[in-house]
Amino acid sequence: MSFLQIVKLTIPVMMGYIPLGMAFGLLLSKLLIPWYYAFFMSVFIFAGSGQFLALTLFASQATILEIGIATFLLNLRHTFYGLSMISAFKDFSWKKHYLIFGLTDETFALLKTTEIAEANRERVYVWITFLNQCYWVIGSVVGAMLGNILPFNYQGIEFSLTALFVVLSIELYKKNRLHKPFFVALIIGLFGMVLFPPQKMLILSLCLAAFVLIVFKRSMENGK
């Protein structure tokens, strides 16, 4: 697979990562955080919703421990991606650590859906992951810099995060064999939004969801 073909493959991700990265950068500059932190966050964390969440928690002055727990719980879904990549990465060199680090939702989707000859696989996987991260880094740095320069009214741009979550909820609902967890989460989310203190809402709701999911496993799996 030529380099150009690999780039072509990642275009849909580029179209998502650059504007979303820019939204992240803009939001970061709105919190009056210097632009180079956008660069560091995108290089070292490289998690779309995780970085947005970090900003939200910065704004509400969450403790570093809370940021760690919330990020861990939010990104726990990546554990599932890793699970289905164990055999795929098995015989790779040290580069597989970068692949594991860069296993975002979109990268996972590309790696899972691309047909690659075995001899080429490691090289192509690394390029896909690296290109995706480049788009994300470029988007977030440009957004953070323009946020301070352009006299553009971006009030409300943070709604892209809400919309992203709505879209991913629908995607996961369609993909999931069981449909009850979706409806249970709707109730828990609504309940949590109304009744839990805003700063603890996410952690409490996620713990409650995990609890219900495990304790009521049998009834979740009954029917559909």
Partner: protein, 107 residues
């Protein structure tokens, strides 16, 4: 915001994110994951996503004007477009644009 707070948070967020991605490789290097773990990993993501929608809406003032109408319309646009066209980018951008127009010009 202090830079030590931001740098500390970045390091913690980095470790937390990497942990979620490396865990399965460490745990299940030589054995198959249990049925319960598989069940949680299959069903937890959709619950997380739905709860995140409500988390993103947690600061909306529902009891006073405009009663969260911009949020309700924005979410409605995202749902409608995504069910109709199944194009994530389109749904996210149009919904965000609609929301921005509403909060800047209408409410």
């Amino acid at each position: 915001m202090e830079s030590s707070y931001i740098i500390g948070s970045i390091i913690v967020a980095m470790l937390a994110t990497y942990a979620t991605r490396i865990i399965p490789f460490l745990l299940f290097r030589n054995r198959e994951p249990s049925a319960l773990i598989k069940y949680i990993e299959l069903n937890m993501p959709v619950m997380i996503m739905v709860i995140l929608v409500f988390y993103a809406l947690k600061d909306v003032k529902w009891e006073s004007y405009p009663y969260g109408m911009a949020e309700i319309i924005g979410v409605g646009v995202a749902i409608f477009l995504h069910v109709r066209f199944q194009n994530a980018l389109l749904s996210i951008f149009v919904a965000t644009l609609a929301y921005m127009v509403l909060v800047q010009n209408v409410f």
